[in-house]
Amino acid sequence: MTEILFFFEVVLAGMLAGTMYSLVALGFVLIYKASATFNFAQGAMVFFAVLSFVGFMELGLPFALAFVVTVFLMIAVGYATERLVLEPLMSQSEDTMLMATIGLAFVLQGLAQAVWGVEVRRLDLGIGDFPIPWVAENLGLFVSALDVAAGVVAAVLIVILALLFRFTKMGLGLRAVADDPGAAASIGIPLKTIMLMVWSAAGIVALVAGMLWGARAGVQFALVDLALKALPVLIIGGFSSIPGAIVGGLIIGVVEKTLEVYVGPFFGGGIEGWAPYVLAIFFLLWRPEGLFGEKIIRRV
């Protein structure tokens, strides 16, 4: 195996891992776009959604039906969140909302474990996490079919969400709410409906991300930590940009993998845990709004 080929494989692995991070980051972006709130509970939503999905399958529901039931469950979670958490705090500061989402994260984590138990579950999506034989034999690259599937799913989700926000009334309403909730409400945009739809969409994205991560690493509590992986992605891509989540994910994936392989050994390894945050700090200094985020202009 030549060194150049190996480097190419490292970069490719980083890009594919990055799309997995992007899937989680997308949920954050949706909610931030609507309410300028960093939803700390997104990782817990991933865990809650996929654990419920597997739980429904264990109860005997077939795959497709379990998926549909979980989608409705996530819509119910979105509704409950809107009614019990967001509505009472509607006029509160962003800090208050952040604290509320931290609380929500703990509630969802505890609820999921209380209802479905704490055992680690296996999730088989029918996509093997093995190297694609043709690619391995002809190109000498070990690329997992599951990673490629994740990339395709991420791309499809982005297209759907981008079209949704650009060409539908809901998207227009959401952009108006994000700009100025008071003005949006005064011209008749239903704030509650918009928030419900956004939280539901974030819940469905969390389910998809959880299914792909669960297929790779098992359905288990550690999935809540994915939120921490999404944070540098958001800082780099921009908290309010859907394409930014993807580009940020790709950058983080490639940077962390190449640094781990080529620089990590000089530091005792394991640097990919913190290297993305170092990169994120540089971005905060250089471009605080991220690559695709809206420039923040404040009057002083």
Binding site: R122, D129, D225, E260
Partner: protein, 448 residues
């Protein structure tokens, strides 16, 4: 008039209630004199929940079983649980919360994790509490002259890595064939992950083996770059020192991704449970894993607990199919040692039928002599390796069994194996403990 009657009625009712409370409290108090309290610092939620529910579930099941059979010479066992989430800070919090219960001090503490053990280890002597590290924790605590209150009854990581390397050597046809071989030690980036390195490096140097250390940042769900390094290094063996089923199962799926044979991959005891294997599916098949307590329901004690405790609906596991699993049997082994230590302590201090103090319990634990015959009597013959402890020797069983995952269950592939050169490991332990004692102004006790 009516007010006076009301007052009189109230006083009468109060007197009856007080009498009831006092009469209820009296037998409670009498019973309290014949109880022995055990703390359960469990980790039932969070990333290590599979481990905690099985291990601590078995401990509670065994305590229940002992009580159902009359206690320990009539002393009934009590316990209180505190959730640590496998977090060192919360472990300290639980240590303080569990320290005393119903006026009785705890005599033993079991963190089921190296980070938690390191967090409380320096309090043991002062608090007179035994730290029963059952196959985890600080390795040089096996030197009882420096660490009188800490034990490694189910072996420690230095012996474990030495047994792993012995197994590799046997697979390669002898130690002489190990020269020039390359072993990747892939580990979680923590004290636990690095714990075996001193012994591993020493053996590797002696055998002429190259060690490549690759760290995985927690929680370890993302290991692509680490396994790409494995692909480039082309090692002969990989020792995997992971924590949590997420990291452990991801290790096997990533090995499969790069085509690394699972028959060359050996997991540490804390990655050697069914819950670590299931999520990896077919990728897990062929993986080796070390055991300090073998799984299975063939052991009479396991069957008795299932019949008596679970039969009475008092079982602790939510999923009864986990009875006899790796973590459950390991927890059972740990709890059996507690009760054996309690029996020893009662007999050694003429306190049969009475509760013992921390110092007495420590002496009882140090007097453990788990011969094959005694293990058979207890109903766990073959489940754990026989061992005995002494003043200086706090490492119990210095042997581990190798298991292999066949896709559905673990299959035992070796008998209980000790390190090839146990004396060399013991020397490393004594050197490390002596260094710690010198640095901390500890005068080792005389064990001669």
């Amino acid at each position: 008039m009516s007010m006076r009657r009301t007052l009189r009625d109230m006083m009468a009712v109060s007197a009856i209630v007080c009498a009831a409370i006092v009469s209820a409290a009296l037998p409670e108090r009498a019973a309290a004199e014949e109880t022995q309290y055990f703390p359960i610092a469990s980790s039932r939620v969070g990333p290590y929940s599979a481990m905690g529910t099985g291990y601590y579930g078995a401990q509670i099941d065994y305590l229940n079983y002992v009580n159902m059979n009359g206690g320990v010479n009539g002393v009934m066992l009590t316990w209180q649980e505190c959730e640590t989430e496998y977090n060192a800070v919360k472990t300290v919090e639980c240590y303080q919360r569990l320290f005393e219960y119903n006026g009785q001090k705890m005599v033993v503490f079991d963190t089921l994790g190296t980070p938690g053990a390191y967090a409380v280890i320096n309090r043991m002597a002062e608090d007179e509490v035994v730290l029963a590290q059952y196959g985890y924790g600080r390795t040089d605590a096996a030197d009882g002259s420096v660490w009188p209150w800490v034990f490694n009854a189910a072996g420690h990581y230095w012996d474990q890595i030495a047994v792993k390397m012995r197994f590799m050597a046997e697979q390669e046809g002898g130690v002489e064939n190990m020269r020039g071989k390359k072993i990747v030690h892939m580990h979680i980036d923590s004290a636990f992950g690095r714990e075996p390195l001193p012994a591993m490096r020493a053996i590797a140097e002696e055998w002429g083996v190259e060690i490549v250390e690759i760290a995985v940042p927690p929680p370890g769900l993302e290991q692509q770059s680490q396994w790409l390094q494995v692909r480039r290094e082309r090692p002969d063996w990989v020792t995997f020192w992971g924590a949590g089923s997420g990291m452990n199962s991801t290790g096997m799926t990533n090995a499969a991704r790069i085509g690394f044979p699972r028959e060359r991959l050996i997991y540490v005891t804390f990655g050697a449970a069914e819950e670590d294997m299931y999520p990896a599916g077919d990728s897990a098949t062929g993986t080796y894993a070390m055991a300090n307590a073998l799984p299975g329901k063939q052991f009479p004690l396991v069957q008795a607990i299932e019949e008596q405790v679970y039969g009475a609906g008092e079982g602790n596991l939510a999923d009864e199919s986990r009875i006899g699993s790796v973590y459950w049997n390991r927890g059972l082994g740990a709890a059996v040692m507690w009760i054996e230590a309690l029996k020893n302590a009662q007999e050694m201090h003429d306190k049969v039928g009475q509760a013992v103090t921390g110092a007495e319990f420590r002496a009882g634990y140090e007097a453990l002599n788990m011969t094959p015959e005694r293990l058979e009597e207890l109903g766990i013959g073959g489940m754990v390796a026989p061992f005995d402890l002494s003043c200086a020797k706090h490492n119990g069983a210095r042997a581990f069994a190798m298991m292999q995952w066949d896709g559905e269950k673990f299959v035992q592939v070796t008998d209980w194996l000790p390190p090839l050169d146990p004396d060399a490991i013991r020397t490393l332990i004594e050197d490390s403990a002596a260094k710690f004692a010198a640095e901390n102004g500890i005068t080792p006790r005389d064990c001669s």
